[in-house]
Symmetry: C2
Subunit: 228 residues, 2 copies
């Protein structure tokens, strides 16, 4: 009997909860997998919505993971220059089989110096920022480059996790999980990407996030100055 697969997802204040709850649902159905929600301390952290997230372990107590996954969200910006977080990611990445992210979590991997020379995906609004960390921005739903597996924005975490299960276990295991969560999506509109959204919807969303983008870009540039 082999040791259980250790899968850990970073959680942090203002994480976009669906970035990790989607993958968590998928990974939890992997037979024998042990799941961890990890933060500096064990105290509950607020997500970006009404969900309060209770970590199951801390940086200090977390075992060596087979899969380390960093979700995204507005809270990502404050991870990019947080040495305690970046040290944890670097330390886990050394021994992990897969170093992964969903959405803007890839910026944190980049800030830890873990995406230099790798192709990587992220949320569409952060795509160009990846290159500041020496990564090649890749506009795919899931990007697999050697042992770096990165997903696009938010809901891409489900596609990402199913892909990773097919690599970690096998295709049949991933298909069984897909059937269990009835992942047979039928979006009522065709607005899920900047390439398909109506122009006025894209303009509205871009305008709304503009002030936040300046804050993020500043954090990225400071982090990149250290890494590159």
């Amino acid at each position: 009997m082999s040791a259980p697969l250790q899968i850990g997802l970073l959680v942090f204040p203002r994480v976009t909860q669906l970035d990790f709850t989607g993958p968590l649902q998928v990974f939890s159905a992997v037979p024998g997998a042990q799941l961890h929600l990890i933060w500096k301390r064990i105290e509950p952290v607020p997500s970006d919505s009404a969900l309060i997230v209770t970590p199951t372990t801390t940086f200090a107590d977390c075992p060596q993971l087979d899969v380390i996954c960093v979700p995204g969200g507005r809270g990502t910006d404050d991870l990019l220059n947080d040495e305690e977080v970046l040290d944890f990611l670097r330390r886990q990445a050394e021994g992990a089989k897969y170093v992964t992210s969903v959405c803007t979590g890839s910026l944190a991997l980049g800030a830890a110096g873990l995406l230099k020379g790798y192709r990587a995906a992220t949320h569409w609004s952060a795509m160009e920022m990846l290159s500041q960390f020496g990564a090649t921005p890749t506009k795919t739903r899931v990007c697999v480059d050697r042992n770096r597996v990165t997903g696009g924005g938010v809901t891409a975490g489900i596609d990402f996790a199913l892909t990773l299960v097919s690599i970690l276990v096998n295709r049949t295991a991933a298909e069984a999980i897909q059937l269990g969560i009835e992942y047979n999506p039928a979006p009522p509109f065709n607005s899920g990407s900047p390439d398909t959204a109506p122009a006025e919807v894209l303009a509205f969303v871009k305008q709304r996030i503009e002030p936040l983008q300046a804050y993020r870009l500043d954090a990225v540039e400071r982090a990149a100055a250290r890494v590159m």
Copy 2:
């Protein structure tokens, strides 16, 4: 200025967390909406995975909701004959604009007598059970019948929530949220429904849930005897 939209999601032990975290992510982006995670008591409840869910309000303290939503999961079975839960649902349903569910949450609506004469969706594994509550099982991703809006299994909650936002607010609001969460799904496999899954995958999943189905059917039959 109109009153904020009150949207409440029931949480309970062994809820399938993605059943409500998907809709929660969507609803949280509705301008001015107030979100509630509701259970009998305020103490954290375990979900079906590593996520511990902290309710934000209780049955006693919850305001009248505009939208009441019941997610599903194995824990649903224990709601079907729990008068405290069913009373809360009936009480909220009287004043709510929309009475909704995701996945097997529709069984709880049915057990509360709230789906008699309505079409409704649910997880594929529970489809036939809906008819015991006088509902017409409907194999669609999202089912809208007057003010009952019900989603299919687990991930259908995202399609459900975007559909409901388009009804509650408008189509542009739903499209902006869809773009924000980059909901442009690309499942790596085509196994998300019993109609498309490979035969051996369907057989494997059916066999695995068989013992659980007997438990559920017993709970459904006892509840139906009271309702019908």
